[in-house]
């Protein structure tokens, strides 16, 4: 095994350890959220979806921001590892977006009475999801590594530009989506037991995100070390 392949194998192993720790932490969050966190008076049990939905949104937006930053650095430094890192973050961001877009409607149906509404936050989020699906499709369609990295970096940067808009939509176009209750200028408006569970969940999800990105990046490096083609 070449030193490069050995290094990639270590990265994969570290990533998988983080994934395992993240999944165990998530299991603990489930127990705390379901068993030890009070039920909200007006929304009842569906309010607890908040603990799996909000961290998924946080991780998706964080991952898409990482894609943009890595893409800018790629266009500047032309280091293929940055392109691989951006791709790993985009794929991981899509996984968390899927969680966000699945759990959101499951909260919306009992609380709003509808699975989906074309509210600005929801529409922008769906658009961002499609944009990163297009990013993946673009990578699959281009076989020249330099061309693939350049074009996808541009799409990745455009995706990152959308992230602050997604966050601000609830202020710019206030309709039905709740406004932030933690990430806002004033202090969080949440009882401590609920805030504690949310912070635990944010921690578990973030560990998972780092684990997913690291593992995927390491797997890409392994393919490269073997001189294989990874259209990722």
């Amino acid at each position: 095994m070449t030193p490069e392949a050995e290094r990639a194998r270590v990265v994969v192993r570290r990533g998988l350890v983080l994934v395992a720790v993240g999944l165990l932490a998530l299991a603990a969050v489930y127990v705390v959220a379901i068993r030890y966190t009070p039920v909200e008076r007006f929304q009842g049990l569906p309010q607890k979806i908040f603990y799996v939905h909000v961290p998924a949104a946080w991780c998706a937006l964080l991952a898409f921001s990482v894609v943009g930053i890595a893409s800018i650095l790629y266009l500047w430094l032309r280091d293929p590892r940055l392109d691989l890192f951006a791709e790993s973050a985009a794929s991981s961001g899509l996984v968390f977006s899927t969680v966000m877009l699945t759990t959101g409607p499951l909260w919306g149906k009992p609380i709003w009475g509808t699975w989906w509404t074309w509210d600005a936050r929801l529409t922008f989020t769906l658009f961002l999801f499609f944009l990163f699906l297009a990013y993946r499709a673009l990578r699959g369609a281009l076989h020249d590594p330099g061309e693939r990295a350049r074009y996808s970096a541009v799409v990745g940067i455009l995706g990152m530009v959308l992230v602050p808009f997604v966050h601000l939509t609830v202020y710019l176009f206030p309709t039905v989506h709740p406004q932030p209750i933690v990430l806002k200028p004033s202090s969080p408006s949440l009882p401590w037991e609920m805030l504690r569970t949310l912070l635990m969940s944010l921690g578990a999800y973030t560990i998972l995100l780092i684990g997913f990105i690291t593992t995927r990046y390491g797997l890409g490096r392994q393919v490269e070390a073997r001189g294989g083609l990874d259209v990722g």
């Binding site: 194998r9 994969v12 192993r13 990533g15 998988l16 994934v19 395992a20 993240g22 999944l23 998530l26 489930y30 959220a33 379901i34 009842g44 049990l45 569906p46 607890k48 979806i49 799996v52 939905h53 998924a56 996984v95 899927t98 969680v99 699945t102 759990t103 499951l106 909260w107 149906k109 009992p110 998972l208 684990g211 997913f212 593992t215 995927r216 390491g218 797997l219 392994q222 393919v223």
Partner: protein
Amino acid sequence: MSADSQANAWFMWAAYGAAALILGGYGLSLWRRARRSGR
């Protein structure tokens, strides 16, 4: 437990189950890919 609160509980379990399936499933797929590429 009333029919309403049972239905509400269903939404919560469905969301928790979906999140676990998606995140756990992706973690498992990475682990399997790592095993394949480690050979």
